[in-house]
Subunit: 586 residues, 2 copies
């Protein structure tokens, strides 16, 4: 028992810090009224009339009649999508009022296993970002069609659920529930027996399938992309995580369902899923989502509930976070009102972290654990010849099937084209926008290289590559010629991971991701600037592509569970039939 | 994983039972719309359009366009207050649509310890009432002022929290938190470390004291008796259990606070705390509370939420009960609408339990575990002389202080009077309404008899006694003469507990409580009839008392934590000063 806290609450001792002159947004009652917050250490001691808690040594923070809200909670976010180290990521979102995240750190798990994830969570302890861990339910997504460094089976998940910060398992694939995946069902049972939370990934799931997933114990989903899906999830007793991230913008349609049907909002929350570093720097995080919600006509207190208590309740941690009340973590945002919503100052775990939008506390760079570093293990140097697709029967032309991607949709569709064959090697054709794409196993397991054809990026010359490729994080390389592709891959190996743009033997842009080949050590602003520069270079090489975040789109081309096609180190994947196929069809 | 359930949910197999033609009260969205519920075993497989679940062998329950609600949940009730065996208690409340209770079985714990509580929970398994156990936080209330058979210290509570049905600890005394009771704070830590629920008993607690209790981790309270208290609890982040029981009727004032301040209702629920068997038979249980709420202008769906999902969420079990959704226990009420609210039929754990108000499933009587029986252990036969209060200095009159009780308030206040002394023995005086009261230790520990004077019951002759006396459940006997008091006590010993009325050496009424001296084996209707008969007899002996439930009031006179006075086997207790005092003051 924290006796010091009880002494402050009861008036036997004074608070360390007192926030005064605020308008309390009480997410428990739905009211707004004047008051303050008294803090003891990292915990709220009293809320409301706190004058009795103020002593001669109490630090006073004057809220100047601004609103006091609980720190915001993102119930579903993958920090790795920002490519920021966890400390820089923490700083980037804390600036926008986020105090708590629920995350699985799935991508780190793919490369560095459970020990890698724990090492990142250890690094995060230097920050005051509050992290609950949702244990990844599957690593990788398609173990029979891709090579990852680590694989999570029920024993690993069981070990994960023992950690005190574990609050459930994440990304329970609806289709795997439907198909009766034994390992997944075993993991679900493990989690349910510990009375922890079963977080769904129910993309495209509806009707009987949705009913089946909820019957299996799934309690939330963040993949509703239409009003119908949003309504159906809530009616089926599934907490609706309304996603407003860098890739998917689903908040508006979800809110429309709520408005149209006058739905109870207490089982809804706002999440980002994936937050690109450029968005984090330029737009914000959940503060930006609140602005979207307010614009859609959602009441101020209701909007604040959607990023605080509703998520806390969903994860059964509302006694710890998500409300300005005694005994909760002292995460408090001082904000402007609904007309012009902005986070002005941030109190994080009891300390003034940002004052009038100026950050007071800067995190020192981490010394990364060995398991997070030197994760590039190519079996040998890559040669341009490694990318060749051969035809042995003397044909001069072959018909191929290429994956086509669109701007922001992650699905791929087939396009076919006739390509020339020179010296028994199939040649790509920039005029048809049918390019080479390959994935190179980089975990030191088997050195496999999978090859296919890609359409949609419209590169006219050069190659781009990166070491982020869901769900295995091998090297994914897209190119117009073998030499540039090999240069890109070998340079990424030297960098210990990253993203790269090359053209005619020249490196035009490179960003190193030394942490697992996934994360940079640059601060958010610098990384955002580097990424914007790389994107401009790619735009120049392609001329007319509409893909504004090319590396993020590229990383999803390897995902062997998003229809219709993918490329992994196993080869060209027919996702729906779950098998490797030949891209040459005639 | 329940594969059979998933088969029904997904349409691969047919439901065992289907409720059709209903109006679904969706407590998750707040909507009401037409639909049905498909059931597999004891679990809901699908809700809404369930036609695909109906096969040739599916039993059909036609709801005839009535409402379908989740089974009701009482988050704070002591079944022992009904004096019914747990199976008869279950039947009594299931008749009124209650499917789940959270209970500590504190009274059983006083007499038979944790093993006794577990034996009762074992008996309950024959029923389909769903019981979550809240481990008692203190047994007895005042260990230095009373003798109970068992005492709960942190090690016992720690053992209790290991049971899979344990969801928290109960009745955390606000004043014990404030005074810093070491054992209680240790138990709180044990419970918090397991992330279980800390249920408060915050009678009379407000301001800094309330803040301190919430800071200590208390998440709910059922003791708000004014609008101010209700509002203050919610504003402080404390779930408001609005009590509407046989002793306390607090629902109306709590609802008034909600209406006056337009408060979010999701953190409120309705509980009964104590339900007298006569009320259970004549009025109902939570169905009666819903009628009260509706009369107060609460919206129908909101009222249903207050007895279903809100309580489930408070205890973090909303994935198991409290909503009509896949994977939840198939506890479904078919009810009439808000105009004339009534539970018509009950589906309990998937089976039709009551149809058109006719009970289909009757529970067999339990063979009680030995630990629950033969709990009367008087050290020796009680003699009339045991009740004598002596004056040795030859005075003929003494001034005494007597406890006065009022109709339904549990507090006692002092009255003084002059009593005659004959042969050195103080004589009671029915004309002044100052009677003898005594408590006799009956657990075989020390044979202590505590004696005092009582006012308020207005008995003109005879004696009444029972073996229910909070918080120790020794024999409490009130009388006008020693002979009748001794007869009553000795007969209760023969009965192995119960309640009794005697007059002039004759037993006018007796009801045996063979289970721990607390519970009868009679069904609810019979027990209610016996109790009404006893109450009429007491009315006849007293003439003008306004105490309508005399034995329940008597049982609280022993409670050494309700001001201002009590009698225990230790003697006459000054509650506020926590000590035994002499009733003779002059």
């Amino acid at each position: 028992m924290n006796q010091k806290l009880l002494n402050v609450s009861s008036g036997k001792a004074f608070a360390d810090t007192a926030v005064v002159n605020g308008q309390i947004v009480n997410v428990f009652t739905g009211e707004i009224y004047p008051g303050g917050v008294a803090i003891c250490g990292d915990t709220i001691a009293a809320v409301g009339d706190i004058s009795y808690c103020i002593g001669p040594d109490t630090a006073i923070i004057d809220a100047q009649n601004h609103y006091l809200t609980p720190g915001f909670i993102d119930g579903h976010i993958h920090p790795e999508s920002s490519n920021l180290s966890i400390r820089n990521f923490a700083a980037a979102i804390q600036t926008h009022g986020t105090s708590t995240i629920m995350t699985d750190l799935h991508e780190i798990g793919v490369v560095a296993g459970i020990d890698g994830i724990r090492a990142i969570l250890e690094e995060a302890k230097e920050t005051s970002l509050n992290i609950y861990w949702i244990v990844p339910s599957h690593i990788p997504c398609a173990p029979n069609l891709e090579t990852s460094a680590y694989r999570f089976h029920p024993e690993i998940i069981s070990r994960g659920l023992e950690y005190p910060d574990a609050v459930g398992i994440s990304e329970i694939s609806g289709f795997s529930v439907i198909s009766g995946n034994d390992e997944l069902l075993e993991s679900i049972d493990l989690c349910a027996n510990k009375n922890l939370s079963l977080q769904g990934h129910l993309a495209g799931i509806s009707g009987k399938n949705l009913t089946t997933c909820i019957a299996a114990g799934v309690v939330s989903d963040h993949e509703a992309i239409t009003e119908e899906e949003a309504l159906e999830r809530l009616r089926t007793g599934c907490h609706l995580m309304m996603r407003e991230g860098s890739v998917a913008h689903n908040l508006k349609v979800c809110l429309q369902a709520i408005k149209d049907h006058k739905l109870d909002t207490s089982n809804t929350s706002i999440v980002t899923d994936d937050l690109h570093v450029c968005d984090a720097v330029k737009k914000g995080h959940l503060d930006e989502s609140i602005r979207v919600a307010l614009k859609e006509g959602i009441d101020f207190t209701t909007a604040i509930q959607m990023v605080t208590i509703n998520a806390a309740k969903m994860f059964h941690v509302e006694h710890q976070v998500g409300i300005l009340a005694p005994g909760r973590r002292a995460d408090i945002n001082i904000t402007s009102g609904p007309e012009d919503f902005k986070v002005l100052s941030v109190i994080s775990a009891g300390k003034l972290w940002m004052k009038d939008q100026e950050i007071l506390k800067h995190y020192s760079p981490a010394i990364h654990a060995p398991i997070l570093l030197n994760t590039m293990h190519l079996k040998r140097e890559i040669s341009p010849k490694d990318f060749e697709i051969h035809v042995t029967d003397g044909r001069k032309q072959v018909q191929v099937i290429a994956m086509k991607t669109e701007s922001c949709a992650l699905v791929t569709s087939p396009v076919t084209g006739w390509l020339n064959v020179r010296n028994g090697i199939v040649e790509c054709d920039v005029n048809q926008d049918i390019l080479y794409i390959a994935q190179i196993e980089r975990h030191g397991k088997n050195g496999q290289i999978g090859k296919a054809f890609m359409s949609g990026f419209q590169l006219k010359s050069g190659a781009i590559a990166c070491t982020i490729g869901h769900d295995n994080h091998n090297i994914i390389v897209l190119g117009t010629n073998f030499d540039d592709m090999a240069l890109a891959a070998n340079r990424l190996n030297e960098l210990q991971g990253g993203q790269i743009v090359v053209n005619g033997g020249e490196i035009l842009s490179e960003i190193a991701y030394p942490i697992c080949g996934l994360l940079s050590d640059l601060p958010a602003e610098e990384l955002a600037a580097e990424k914007e520069k790389a994107n401009r270079i790619i735009q120049n090489l392609s001329g007319e592509t509409s893909i504004s975040i090319p590396f993020m789109v590229l990383s999803f081309i390897c995902l062997a569970v998003i229809p219709e096609f993918a490329v992994t180190d196993f080869g060209f994947i027919d996702v729906l039939n779950e098998k490797v196929i030949d891209p040459i069809i005639g």
